[in-house]
């Protein structure tokens, strides 16, 4: 109780100080969690939707992006497709957050950079592997109970509850698997194939939308099998 009070008092003090002249890295930390980093009124996701910045928040989540601890000094990002850190961040903004690339010297840009710098104690961190499955193959249906857990960890934050969409980010976000069922019926492909494609390709490969793909590192084939077992049990 006393500890909590200390936290509140310290936080209030810090907030007052911050509002007066906030430290850029603290603002960057807030922006990391703020969908308003994107000026688009249609964006409801933030950096923290897909990445952990070492805070330990949402530990149970299964995010599509790598944790960003030590990210600032890696030699490349996005599996080698982004040669600079700013390229990597800009890709996220453009492809997933409906935003333009950051202006290098804009206050929000500088603040976000200082936050990323503050969580990067290592200056020699290696690049992280990121394997995108270009050509998808069918997978067996796995344990639906495990699939339910995977859904809760990986999908629910954006898509809300499975089958109903309750609590999803906004009305533009598809209900899972309902919208996939519709597309499966329309295209003639099995529902499991449609789900695999969406999870593995996200918005890329001519699919559209703003969902990030799940690489092999972010979700294994076994986990994807379980997800199919939950969403497409028949």
């Amino acid at each position: 109780m006393r500890r909590a009070l200390v936290v509140v008092v310290l936080a209030a003090s810090a907030m007052l100080a911050s509002c007066a002249e906030p430290a850029a890295k603290d603002v960057g930390r807030a922006l990391f969690r703020d969908p308003r980093l994107s000026p688009s009124e249609f964006n409801d996701v933030s950096c923290s939707t897909c990445h952990d910045d070492g805070s330990g928040e949402g530990e149970a989540l299964k995010r599509s992006g790598h944790p960003l601890t030590d990210t600032a000094f890696r030699p490349s990002w996005w599996g080698g497709n982004a040669p600079t850190l700013k390229d990597a961040v800009d890709h996220c903004l453009v492809f997933f957050m409906r935003a333009p690339p950051l202006q290098r010297d804009a206050p929000a840009s500088r603040a976000l950079y200082e936050h990323l710098l503050s969580i990067s104690p290592s200056t020699s961190a290696p690049p992280l592997p990121l394997t995108v499955v270009e050509n998808i193959t069918s997978l067996p249906k796995g344990d639906p109970r495990e699939g339910e857990r995977i859904y809760a960890a990986a999908c629910a934050a954006c898509h809300g509850d499975a089958f109903t969409g309750a609590g999803r980010l906004n009305e533009l976000t598809s209900i899972v698997p309902g919208d996939s069922v519709s597309f499966a019926e329309q295209s003639g492909f099995p529902l499991s194939t449609v789900i695999i494609e969406k999870v593995r390709h996200g918005s890329f490969f001519a699919i559209g939308g703003t969902m990030p793909p799940y690489s092999v590192e972010a979700m294994s084939d076994d986990e994807l099998s379980a997800l199919i077992g939950y969403l497409d049990p028949i």
């Binding site: 807030a30 040669p83 492909f189």
Partner: protein, 425 residues
């Protein structure tokens, strides 16, 4: 405890700040060090240095190869940066998706590379939404700053950009479109010949990348070659034809019909859908008298008299003919060949008559599927791009012309295709 406090602070800060209109902040990092990009992507080129800019079409990258490193004994190394491969950097507009960087050319100042993005990517993505691109998406031209390896401009062109070349004075950028999809669509509609098969030649301003003119050309034009004054261009056409383009007239606004002259390369030419010769590449001869068209289907070279716009000598090669080069002295034509992998050297005689001089065969481990060759070092050496097996890294090799020996080689990316020469003044 500290972490929790930081989160509370972050939430508090967020509550009182609008990310799009932040008040003055206390910065720890000076503005000139924000988003620092670490070490330079490539060491600055020194005056007189020669670098080969190589497009790797199946991994969306471009390799920067030191020619001096290559001829001075640099050896293969699969790592990204070796003594000869100074850098390999990603290109394209969409991460993850392979966009197929096809051909490349470098401006005379050695400052910029121009790269055609073909979006022809066999096997690049699958599922209910189909194979991505497959040549049905429009192509792009990228302008890359060779000092920073950053793409500084991009422009849309037609589907399947093929060759991309700068006029000798650097003032006009030309893009052909090897549009096999158009040819196939015409076939599906039962159309064997006619304008429905014809792809366009794009003329661009290399400074702004403005598309200044499109000229309807012929079925699936691929290789192009300028005359030295930049006023005329010869293109291969898959319909067993060559096209001679009056660029001066095109720039002056003449109608397409008054700009392009097409001539058959065979007595009995096939069609764009069923070619017999399969025109693929063009090499301009000395004094602009003759352009040699490489036939990928028949393995022949067919001479075109550029001024008369007529067909001349046909020479059979040991393999399927692809891209090549003429020596600076104008006495030797080097053409890479596939199927029978190697490099064919032909003597250019009086009236540009060709005679066989030497065939340099390549084993698959040395140079599988050689695709283009470039004379360097006063015609004493050739740089050759080797596609390889298209699953593992291909190579760039240096060949000594006199001995035919391979004197250096380096692994680059997957399916290397074309080569541009960066010479720093």
């Amino acid at each position: 405890m500290r972490g929790r406090l930081a989160i509370v602070v972050a939430v508090g800060v967020s509550a009182c700040l609008d990310p799009q209109a932040l008040p003055p902040l206390r910065f720890d990092v000076p503005v000139d060090q924000v988003w620092r990009d670490g070490a330079p992507a490539v060491a600055p080129a020194v005056s007189g240095e020669r670098r080969l800019i190589v497009t790797n079409s199946l991994d969306d990258s471009v390799s920067v190869v030191s020619w001096d490193g290559l001829i001075n004994g640099a050896v293969d190394n699969a790592a990204d940066n070796t003594a000869a491969q100074l850098a390999r950097f990603p290109v394209g507009l969409v991460p993850f998706e392979r966009e197929g960087p096809h051909h490349v050319t470098v401006d005379p100042a050695g400052a910029f590379a121009f790269i055609g993005i073909s979006n022809f990517v066999p096997g690049g993505g699958s599922g209910p939404h189909g194979v991505h691109g497959g040549g049905t998406a429009d192509g792009r031209v990228l302008k890359v700053d060779l000092a920073t390896l950053r793409t500084v401009a991009a422009v849309r062109v037609d589907k399947n950009p093929g060759d991309i070349r700068l006029s000798p004075d650097g003032s006009t950028l030309i893009v052909s479109h090897f549009d096999l999809v158009r040819v196939a669509e015409a076939a599906a509609a039962g159309i064997e010949r006619g304008p429905e098969l014809d792809a366009r030649l794009a003329l661009l301003d290399p400074v702004t990348l403005e598309r200044t003119r499109f000229v309807s050309l012929c079925p699936a034009p691929h290789g192009v070659a300028f005359t030295s004054d930049g006023n005329t261009l010869v293109s291969s056409c898959l319909s067993d034809e060559a096209a001679v383009v009056d660029l001066a007239a095109a720039k002056a606004g003449a109608a397409d019909a008054d700009v392009v002259v097409r001539l058959p390369l065979l007595d009995a030419p096939g069609t764009g859908q069923l070619p017999n010769c399969g025109p693929y590449a063009v090499t301009m001869g000395p004094a602009d008298r003759t352009a040699w068209v490489s036939c990928y289907s028949s393995g022949e070279l067919v001479a075109v008299d550029v001024a008369a716009k007529t067909r001349g000598q046909t020479v059979a090669l040991p393999g399927l003919a692809v891209f090549g080069d003429v020596s600076d002295a104008g006495d030797v034509l080097a053409i890479a060949t596939q199927d029978t992998d190697g490099l064919m050297l032909l003597q250019i005689g009086a009236d540009d008559a060709l005679s066989a001089r030497q065939f340099i065969p390549f084993s698959p481990d040395v140079c599988g599927l050689p695709h283009t060759a470039l004379f360097l070092d006063g015609d004493t050496r050739l740089a050759v791009v080797c596609e390889g097996n298209k699953r593992e890294p291909g190579r760039v090799i240096a060949v000594d012309v006199a001995s035919g020996e391979v004197i250096g080689g380096v692994s680059v990316g997957i399916f290397p295709d074309d080569i541009g020469l960066q010479v720093t003044p």
